[in-house]
Amino acid sequence: MNAPPSLELHGLQLVTIVAETVLRDRITRRLQDLGATGFTVTESQGRGSRGLRTGDVPGQGVRIETLVTPEVAVRILGMVAERYFADYAVIAWVTEVQVVRGDKYVGPR
Protein backbone atom coordinates (compact mmCIF):
# COMPACT_ATOMS: atom_id res chain seq x y z
CA MET A 1 0.00 0.00 0.00
CA ASN A 2 1.46 3.31 -1.02
CA ALA A 3 0.60 5.23 2.08
CA PRO A 4 1.92 8.76 2.19
CA PRO A 5 4.30 9.03 5.16
CA SER A 6 1.87 11.35 6.85
CA LEU A 7 -0.50 8.44 7.41
CA GLU A 8 2.00 6.63 9.64
CA LEU A 9 0.77 3.10 9.00
CA HIS A 10 2.11 0.53 11.45
CA GLY A 11 2.13 -3.21 10.91
CA LEU A 12 0.37 -4.80 13.89
CA GLN A 13 -1.52 -7.97 14.65
CA LEU A 14 -5.23 -8.18 15.13
CA VAL A 15 -6.13 -10.92 17.60
CA THR A 16 -9.75 -12.07 17.35
CA ILE A 17 -11.21 -14.22 20.13
CA VAL A 18 -14.70 -15.72 19.86
CA ALA A 19 -15.86 -17.02 23.24
CA GLU A 20 -18.84 -17.85 25.46
CA THR A 21 -20.32 -14.69 26.98
CA VAL A 22 -19.50 -15.97 30.45
CA LEU A 23 -15.81 -15.40 29.67
CA ARG A 24 -16.20 -11.85 28.39
CA ASP A 25 -15.06 -9.96 31.46
CA ARG A 26 -12.50 -12.56 32.45
CA ILE A 27 -10.76 -12.29 29.09
CA THR A 28 -10.94 -8.52 28.61
CA ARG A 29 -9.63 -7.91 32.12
CA ARG A 30 -6.54 -9.99 31.29
CA LEU A 31 -5.86 -8.27 27.96
CA GLN A 32 -4.57 -5.11 29.53
CA ASP A 33 -2.24 -7.00 31.88
CA LEU A 34 -0.74 -8.73 28.86
CA GLY A 35 -0.01 -5.45 27.10
CA ALA A 36 -3.04 -4.62 24.97
CA THR A 37 -3.98 -0.96 24.93
CA GLY A 38 -7.66 -1.51 24.11
CA PHE A 39 -10.21 -3.87 22.62
CA THR A 40 -13.49 -3.94 20.71
CA VAL A 41 -16.32 -6.35 21.49
CA THR A 42 -19.27 -7.35 19.33
CA GLU A 43 -22.04 -9.82 20.12
CA SER A 44 -22.08 -13.04 18.14
CA GLN A 45 -23.68 -16.41 17.82
CA GLY A 46 -22.03 -19.54 16.53
CA ARG A 47 -21.57 -23.22 16.25
CA GLY A 48 -18.34 -25.15 16.55
CA SER A 49 -16.61 -28.47 16.97
CA ARG A 50 -17.90 -28.83 20.47
CA GLY A 51 -21.36 -29.37 19.09
CA LEU A 52 -22.30 -26.75 21.63
CA ARG A 53 -24.23 -23.69 20.66
CA THR A 54 -22.29 -20.74 22.07
CA GLY A 55 -25.61 -19.71 23.51
CA ASP A 56 -26.01 -22.94 25.43
CA VAL A 57 -25.36 -21.08 28.58
CA PRO A 58 -27.94 -18.27 28.38
CA GLY A 59 -26.53 -15.21 26.66
CA GLN A 60 -24.85 -15.31 23.31
CA GLY A 61 -21.19 -15.42 22.39
CA VAL A 62 -18.80 -12.48 22.12
CA ARG A 63 -16.20 -11.59 19.51
CA ILE A 64 -13.28 -9.70 21.03
CA GLU A 65 -10.74 -7.91 18.84
CA THR A 66 -7.51 -6.34 20.00
CA LEU A 67 -4.73 -4.72 17.99
CA VAL A 68 -1.35 -5.59 19.45
CA THR A 69 2.32 -6.17 18.71
CA PRO A 70 3.41 -9.70 17.80
CA GLU A 71 4.86 -10.33 21.26
CA VAL A 72 1.65 -9.32 23.00
CA ALA A 73 -0.34 -11.41 20.52
CA VAL A 74 1.62 -14.51 21.50
CA ARG A 75 1.02 -13.83 25.16
CA ILE A 76 -2.73 -13.36 24.65
CA LEU A 77 -3.11 -16.47 22.52
CA GLY A 78 -1.09 -18.45 25.05
CA MET A 79 -3.30 -17.24 27.87
CA VAL A 80 -6.49 -18.07 26.01
CA ALA A 81 -5.24 -21.49 24.93
CA GLU A 82 -3.97 -22.45 28.35
CA ARG A 83 -6.90 -21.28 30.42
CA TYR A 84 -9.94 -21.76 28.28
CA PHE A 85 -9.39 -24.12 25.36
CA ALA A 86 -9.92 -27.35 27.27
CA ASP A 87 -13.28 -26.55 28.82
CA TYR A 88 -14.90 -23.66 26.97
CA ALA A 89 -16.25 -22.89 23.54
CA VAL A 90 -13.44 -20.57 22.43
CA ILE A 91 -11.57 -19.90 19.22
CA ALA A 92 -8.80 -17.40 18.48
CA TRP A 93 -6.94 -16.22 15.43
CA VAL A 94 -4.46 -13.60 14.31
CA THR A 95 -4.50 -11.36 11.24
CA GLU A 96 -1.71 -9.11 9.96
CA VAL A 97 -3.00 -5.57 9.59
CA GLN A 98 -1.81 -2.01 8.98
CA VAL A 99 -2.94 0.49 11.58
CA VAL A 100 -3.15 4.27 11.29
CA ARG A 101 -1.06 5.89 14.04
CA GLY A 102 -0.28 2.35 15.10
CA ASP A 103 2.28 3.54 17.64
CA LYS A 104 -0.62 4.39 19.95
CA TYR A 105 -1.32 0.71 20.32
CA VAL A 106 2.16 -0.38 21.28
CA GLY A 107 1.77 -0.62 25.03
CA PRO A 108 4.48 -0.31 27.69
CA ARG A 109 6.84 -3.27 27.70
Binding site: E20, V22, L52, D56, P58, D87, Y88
Partner: protein, 320 residues
Protein backbone atom coordinates in the same frame (compact mmCIF):
# COMPACT_ATOMS: atom_id res chain seq x y z
CA UNK B 1 -57.87 -34.45 40.49
CA UNK B 2 -59.54 -34.19 37.06
CA UNK B 3 -60.85 -30.69 37.57
CA UNK B 4 -57.62 -29.56 39.25
CA UNK B 5 -55.62 -30.63 36.22
CA UNK B 6 -58.19 -29.00 33.97
CA UNK B 7 -57.88 -25.64 35.73
CA UNK B 8 -54.16 -25.88 35.23
CA UNK B 9 -54.19 -27.10 31.64
CA UNK B 10 -56.86 -24.71 30.38
CA UNK B 11 -55.14 -21.56 31.60
CA UNK B 12 -53.61 -19.23 29.01
CA UNK B 13 -50.33 -19.52 30.90
CA UNK B 14 -49.95 -23.27 30.45
CA UNK B 15 -51.37 -23.15 26.94
CA UNK B 16 -48.93 -20.41 25.92
CA UNK B 17 -46.08 -22.65 27.02
CA UNK B 18 -47.51 -25.47 24.94
CA UNK B 19 -47.87 -23.14 21.96
CA UNK B 20 -44.21 -22.18 22.26
CA UNK B 21 -43.16 -25.82 22.17
CA UNK B 22 -45.47 -26.59 19.28
CA UNK B 23 -44.33 -23.55 17.30
CA UNK B 24 -40.73 -24.65 17.46
CA UNK B 25 -41.56 -28.29 16.71
CA UNK B 26 -43.31 -27.33 13.47
CA UNK B 27 -40.28 -25.25 12.55
CA UNK B 28 -41.72 -21.80 13.11
CA UNK B 29 -39.42 -18.80 13.26
CA UNK B 30 -41.52 -17.37 16.10
CA UNK B 31 -39.35 -16.05 18.91
CA UNK B 32 -39.62 -13.13 21.29
CA UNK B 33 -36.65 -10.80 20.82
CA UNK B 34 -33.99 -11.74 23.36
CA UNK B 35 -34.16 -8.27 24.93
CA UNK B 36 -37.94 -8.50 25.42
CA UNK B 37 -37.56 -11.90 27.03
CA UNK B 38 -34.87 -10.49 29.32
CA UNK B 39 -36.94 -7.43 30.12
CA UNK B 40 -40.02 -9.51 30.94
CA UNK B 41 -37.90 -11.67 33.24
CA UNK B 42 -36.65 -8.60 35.10
CA UNK B 43 -40.18 -7.25 35.35
CA UNK B 44 -41.57 -10.53 36.72
CA UNK B 45 -38.90 -10.93 39.40
CA UNK B 46 -39.05 -7.30 40.46
CA UNK B 47 -42.87 -7.29 40.55
CA UNK B 48 -42.84 -10.51 42.56
CA UNK B 49 -40.45 -8.91 45.05
CA UNK B 50 -42.41 -5.66 45.32
CA UNK B 51 -45.69 -7.41 45.97
CA UNK B 52 -44.09 -9.87 48.37
CA UNK B 53 -42.42 -7.03 50.26
CA UNK B 54 -45.66 -5.12 50.56
CA UNK B 55 -47.35 -8.19 52.02
CA UNK B 56 -44.38 -9.09 54.20
CA UNK B 57 -44.83 -5.73 55.95
CA UNK B 58 -48.20 -7.04 57.13
CA UNK B 59 -46.87 -10.40 58.41
CA UNK B 60 -45.71 -10.96 61.99
CA UNK B 61 -42.28 -12.38 62.71
CA UNK B 62 -43.93 -15.24 64.60
CA UNK B 63 -45.77 -16.38 61.48
CA UNK B 64 -42.74 -16.54 59.27
CA UNK B 65 -40.02 -17.75 61.64
CA UNK B 66 -40.73 -21.48 61.26
CA UNK B 67 -41.29 -21.36 57.48
CA UNK B 68 -37.98 -19.52 57.12
CA UNK B 69 -36.13 -22.20 59.04
CA UNK B 70 -37.86 -24.91 57.04
CA UNK B 71 -36.91 -23.24 53.77
CA UNK B 72 -33.27 -22.95 54.74
CA UNK B 73 -33.31 -26.64 55.67
CA UNK B 74 -34.76 -27.46 52.25
CA UNK B 75 -32.00 -25.35 50.73
CA UNK B 76 -29.36 -27.54 52.38
CA UNK B 77 -31.04 -30.89 51.79
CA UNK B 78 -31.99 -30.57 48.11
CA UNK B 79 -28.48 -30.29 46.63
CA UNK B 80 -27.43 -33.30 48.72
CA UNK B 81 -30.31 -35.53 47.63
CA UNK B 82 -29.65 -34.49 44.02
CA UNK B 83 -25.93 -35.19 44.30
CA UNK B 84 -26.52 -38.55 45.93
CA UNK B 85 -28.93 -39.71 43.22
CA UNK B 86 -26.76 -38.37 40.39
CA UNK B 87 -23.63 -40.09 41.68
CA UNK B 88 -25.19 -43.19 43.25
CA UNK B 89 -27.82 -44.06 40.71
CA UNK B 90 -26.79 -42.13 37.61
CA UNK B 91 -23.03 -42.76 38.06
CA UNK B 92 -22.34 -39.36 36.51
CA UNK B 93 -18.83 -37.88 36.68
CA UNK B 94 -18.12 -35.60 39.65
CA UNK B 95 -18.35 -32.32 37.74
CA UNK B 96 -21.58 -33.19 35.95
CA UNK B 97 -23.21 -34.42 39.14
CA UNK B 98 -22.20 -31.30 41.06
CA UNK B 99 -23.30 -29.04 38.19
CA UNK B 100 -26.76 -30.60 37.96
CA UNK B 101 -27.08 -30.65 41.75
CA UNK B 102 -26.45 -26.88 41.77
CA UNK B 103 -29.39 -26.42 39.40
CA UNK B 104 -31.70 -28.64 41.49
CA UNK B 105 -30.47 -27.05 44.71
CA UNK B 106 -31.70 -23.67 43.46
CA UNK B 107 -35.15 -22.68 42.18
CA UNK B 108 -37.13 -21.57 39.15
CA UNK B 109 -38.94 -18.31 39.85
CA UNK B 110 -41.33 -18.92 36.97
CA UNK B 111 -42.43 -22.26 38.41
CA UNK B 112 -43.00 -20.42 41.68
CA UNK B 113 -45.12 -17.76 39.97
CA UNK B 114 -47.10 -20.38 38.06
CA UNK B 115 -47.83 -22.11 41.38
CA UNK B 116 -48.95 -18.80 42.94
CA UNK B 117 -51.28 -18.21 40.02
CA UNK B 118 -52.60 -21.76 40.20
CA UNK B 119 -53.48 -21.71 43.92
CA UNK B 120 -55.10 -18.31 43.36
CA UNK B 121 -57.29 -19.84 40.68
CA UNK B 122 -58.13 -22.73 43.04
CA UNK B 123 -59.36 -20.22 45.63
CA UNK B 124 -56.53 -21.12 48.01
CA UNK B 125 -54.13 -18.17 47.69
CA UNK B 126 -50.69 -18.49 49.26
CA UNK B 127 -49.56 -16.32 52.16
CA UNK B 128 -47.89 -13.03 51.31
CA UNK B 129 -44.48 -13.98 52.63
CA UNK B 130 -43.85 -16.80 50.17
CA UNK B 131 -41.67 -14.64 47.86
CA UNK B 132 -39.40 -14.11 50.85
CA UNK B 133 -38.96 -17.87 51.08
CA UNK B 134 -38.19 -17.98 47.35
CA UNK B 135 -35.36 -15.50 47.87
CA UNK B 136 -34.00 -17.68 50.68
CA UNK B 137 -34.13 -20.88 48.65
CA UNK B 138 -32.34 -19.50 45.62
CA UNK B 139 -28.69 -19.43 46.58
CA UNK B 140 -27.68 -21.91 49.29
CA UNK B 141 -28.20 -24.91 47.04
CA UNK B 142 -25.96 -23.50 44.32
CA UNK B 143 -23.21 -22.74 46.82
CA UNK B 144 -23.39 -26.16 48.49
CA UNK B 145 -23.31 -28.10 45.23
CA UNK B 146 -20.44 -26.02 43.88
CA UNK B 147 -18.49 -26.57 47.07
CA UNK B 148 -19.01 -30.33 46.86
CA UNK B 149 -17.89 -30.21 43.26
CA UNK B 150 -14.81 -28.13 43.99
CA UNK B 151 -13.75 -30.38 46.87
CA UNK B 152 -14.39 -33.67 45.07
CA UNK B 153 -12.82 -32.52 41.83
CA UNK B 154 -9.83 -31.29 43.82
CA UNK B 155 -9.81 -28.06 41.88
CA UNK B 156 -8.89 -24.66 43.18
CA UNK B 157 -11.60 -22.91 41.23
CA UNK B 158 -12.82 -19.52 42.35
CA UNK B 159 -15.74 -20.68 44.54
CA UNK B 160 -15.61 -17.51 46.60
CA UNK B 161 -15.80 -15.34 43.52
CA UNK B 162 -18.73 -17.39 42.31
CA UNK B 163 -20.61 -17.18 45.59
CA UNK B 164 -20.36 -13.41 45.23
CA UNK B 165 -21.61 -13.62 41.67
CA UNK B 166 -24.64 -15.64 42.73
CA UNK B 167 -25.47 -13.32 45.61
CA UNK B 168 -25.04 -10.27 43.39
CA UNK B 169 -26.77 -12.02 40.47
CA UNK B 170 -29.75 -10.36 38.86
CA UNK B 171 -32.28 -12.86 40.19
CA UNK B 172 -31.45 -12.30 43.83
CA UNK B 173 -30.91 -8.55 43.53
CA UNK B 174 -34.30 -8.07 41.88
CA UNK B 175 -36.09 -10.33 44.31
CA UNK B 176 -34.46 -9.07 47.51
CA UNK B 177 -34.36 -5.48 46.24
CA UNK B 178 -38.02 -5.68 45.28
CA UNK B 179 -38.89 -7.17 48.66
CA UNK B 180 -37.11 -4.33 50.42
CA UNK B 181 -38.76 -1.64 48.29
CA UNK B 182 -42.19 -3.21 48.73
CA UNK B 183 -41.56 -3.51 52.46
CA UNK B 184 -40.46 0.08 53.00
CA UNK B 185 -42.70 1.88 50.50
CA UNK B 186 -45.58 3.83 51.98
CA UNK B 187 -48.83 1.90 51.33
CA UNK B 188 -50.30 4.77 49.27
CA UNK B 189 -47.16 4.89 47.15
CA UNK B 190 -47.42 1.16 46.49
CA UNK B 191 -51.05 1.49 45.50
CA UNK B 192 -50.09 4.02 42.83
CA UNK B 193 -47.97 1.45 41.00
CA UNK B 194 -49.68 -1.78 42.07
CA UNK B 195 -51.87 -2.23 38.95
CA UNK B 196 -48.67 -2.24 36.88
CA UNK B 197 -46.86 -4.84 39.00
CA UNK B 198 -49.82 -7.04 39.97
CA UNK B 199 -53.01 -8.60 38.64
CA UNK B 200 -53.69 -8.83 34.93
CA UNK B 201 -50.51 -7.05 33.79
CA UNK B 202 -48.38 -9.45 35.81
CA UNK B 203 -50.28 -12.50 34.56
CA UNK B 204 -50.30 -11.24 30.98
CA UNK B 205 -46.56 -10.67 31.06
CA UNK B 206 -46.16 -14.16 32.50
CA UNK B 207 -48.19 -15.56 29.59
CA UNK B 208 -45.88 -13.95 27.04
CA UNK B 209 -42.84 -15.09 29.00
CA UNK B 210 -44.07 -18.67 29.00
CA UNK B 211 -44.66 -18.55 25.26
CA UNK B 212 -40.95 -17.87 24.82
CA UNK B 213 -39.98 -20.41 27.51
CA UNK B 214 -41.84 -23.01 25.50
CA UNK B 215 -39.75 -22.07 22.47
CA UNK B 216 -36.54 -22.24 24.49
CA UNK B 217 -37.51 -25.57 26.07
CA UNK B 218 -38.43 -27.04 22.69
CA UNK B 219 -34.94 -26.24 21.42
CA UNK B 220 -33.64 -28.62 24.07
CA UNK B 221 -35.98 -31.51 23.41
CA UNK B 222 -33.68 -32.89 20.74
CA UNK B 223 -30.88 -33.04 23.27
CA UNK B 224 -32.90 -35.63 25.17
CA UNK B 225 -31.88 -38.17 22.57
CA UNK B 226 -28.22 -37.80 23.46
CA UNK B 227 -28.60 -37.25 27.20
CA UNK B 228 -30.46 -40.52 27.66
CA UNK B 229 -33.26 -41.92 29.81
CA UNK B 230 -31.61 -41.51 33.21
CA UNK B 231 -31.81 -37.72 32.94
CA UNK B 232 -35.52 -37.88 32.10
CA UNK B 233 -36.19 -40.11 35.07
CA UNK B 234 -34.06 -37.87 37.28
CA UNK B 235 -35.79 -34.68 36.12
CA UNK B 236 -39.24 -36.05 36.90
CA UNK B 237 -38.36 -38.18 39.92
CA UNK B 238 -36.39 -35.46 41.66
CA UNK B 239 -39.23 -32.98 41.07
CA UNK B 240 -41.76 -35.35 42.64
CA UNK B 241 -39.54 -36.21 45.60
CA UNK B 242 -38.57 -32.59 46.32
CA UNK B 243 -42.13 -31.44 45.67
CA UNK B 244 -43.68 -33.91 48.10
CA UNK B 245 -40.94 -33.10 50.60
CA UNK B 246 -41.60 -29.38 50.27
CA UNK B 247 -45.34 -29.79 50.75
CA UNK B 248 -44.82 -32.06 53.77
CA UNK B 249 -42.34 -29.68 55.36
CA UNK B 250 -44.67 -26.77 54.65
CA UNK B 251 -47.57 -28.61 56.25
CA UNK B 252 -45.41 -29.50 59.25
CA UNK B 253 -44.53 -25.86 59.92
CA UNK B 254 -48.16 -24.88 59.72
CA UNK B 255 -48.66 -23.59 56.19
CA UNK B 256 -52.14 -23.73 54.71
CA UNK B 257 -52.58 -25.87 51.55
CA UNK B 258 -52.08 -22.96 49.14
CA UNK B 259 -48.82 -21.93 50.73
CA UNK B 260 -47.62 -25.51 51.18
CA UNK B 261 -48.28 -26.13 47.48
CA UNK B 262 -46.18 -23.15 46.48
CA UNK B 263 -43.37 -24.22 48.83
CA UNK B 264 -43.58 -27.66 47.26
CA UNK B 265 -43.44 -26.29 43.72
CA UNK B 266 -40.46 -24.14 44.67
CA UNK B 267 -38.71 -27.15 46.18
CA UNK B 268 -39.54 -29.29 43.13
CA UNK B 269 -38.13 -26.78 40.69
CA UNK B 270 -34.66 -26.39 39.21
CA UNK B 271 -32.78 -23.23 38.28
CA UNK B 272 -32.04 -22.28 34.68
CA UNK B 273 -31.03 -18.66 35.10
CA UNK B 274 -28.90 -18.22 38.22
CA UNK B 275 -27.18 -21.62 38.28
CA UNK B 276 -25.90 -22.02 34.70
CA UNK B 277 -23.31 -19.23 34.58
CA UNK B 278 -22.16 -19.99 38.13
CA UNK B 279 -21.60 -23.64 37.26
CA UNK B 280 -20.00 -22.75 33.93
CA UNK B 281 -17.30 -20.75 35.69
CA UNK B 282 -16.71 -22.98 38.70
CA UNK B 283 -16.98 -26.40 37.09
CA UNK B 284 -16.20 -25.84 33.43
CA UNK B 285 -15.70 -29.57 32.86
CA UNK B 286 -19.40 -30.08 33.56
CA UNK B 287 -21.44 -30.45 30.40
CA UNK B 288 -23.97 -27.57 30.39
CA UNK B 289 -26.23 -29.46 28.01
CA UNK B 290 -27.04 -32.02 30.69
CA UNK B 291 -28.09 -29.60 33.41
CA UNK B 292 -29.99 -27.22 31.14
CA UNK B 293 -31.85 -30.00 29.37
CA UNK B 294 -32.86 -31.57 32.67
CA UNK B 295 -34.08 -28.36 34.27
CA UNK B 296 -35.62 -26.67 31.22
CA UNK B 297 -36.90 -29.51 29.06
CA UNK B 298 -37.90 -32.02 31.73
CA UNK B 299 -38.44 -30.61 35.22
CA UNK B 300 -39.89 -27.26 34.23
CA UNK B 301 -42.64 -28.60 31.90
CA UNK B 302 -43.36 -31.45 34.28
CA UNK B 303 -43.97 -29.05 37.13
CA UNK B 304 -46.01 -26.62 35.06
CA UNK B 305 -48.28 -29.26 33.59
CA UNK B 306 -48.50 -32.06 36.14
CA UNK B 307 -46.42 -31.24 39.19
CA UNK B 308 -48.19 -28.20 40.60
CA UNK B 309 -51.67 -29.81 40.57
CA UNK B 310 -50.10 -32.92 42.13
CA UNK B 311 -48.47 -30.98 44.96
CA UNK B 312 -51.75 -29.17 45.55
CA UNK B 313 -53.61 -32.46 45.70
CA UNK B 314 -51.11 -33.72 48.27
CA UNK B 315 -51.32 -30.49 50.28
CA UNK B 316 -55.10 -30.65 50.48
CA UNK B 317 -54.87 -34.34 51.40
CA UNK B 318 -52.52 -33.55 54.31
CA UNK B 319 -54.76 -30.70 55.44
CA UNK B 320 -57.92 -32.81 55.32
Amino acid sequence: MGSILEVNLLSPITLAFALGILARRIGSDLSLPREIYGGLGIYLLFALGLKGGHELAQASLATIALPVVATLALGCVRPLTSWTVLRGVGRLPVADAAGIAAHYGSVSAVTFIAALTFVDAMGDPAAGFLPTLLALLESPGIAIALMIGAVKAGTSRPVGEVVHEVLAGRTLVLLVGGLAIGYFSAPEAWEQVQPFFDGAVFKGALTLFLLEMGIVAADRLDDLKTTGPFLVAFGIGMAVVHGILGVAVGHAVGLAPGSATVLGAMSASASYIAAPPAVRITLPEANPTLSLTASLAITFPFNIVVGIPLYYRFATFLAA
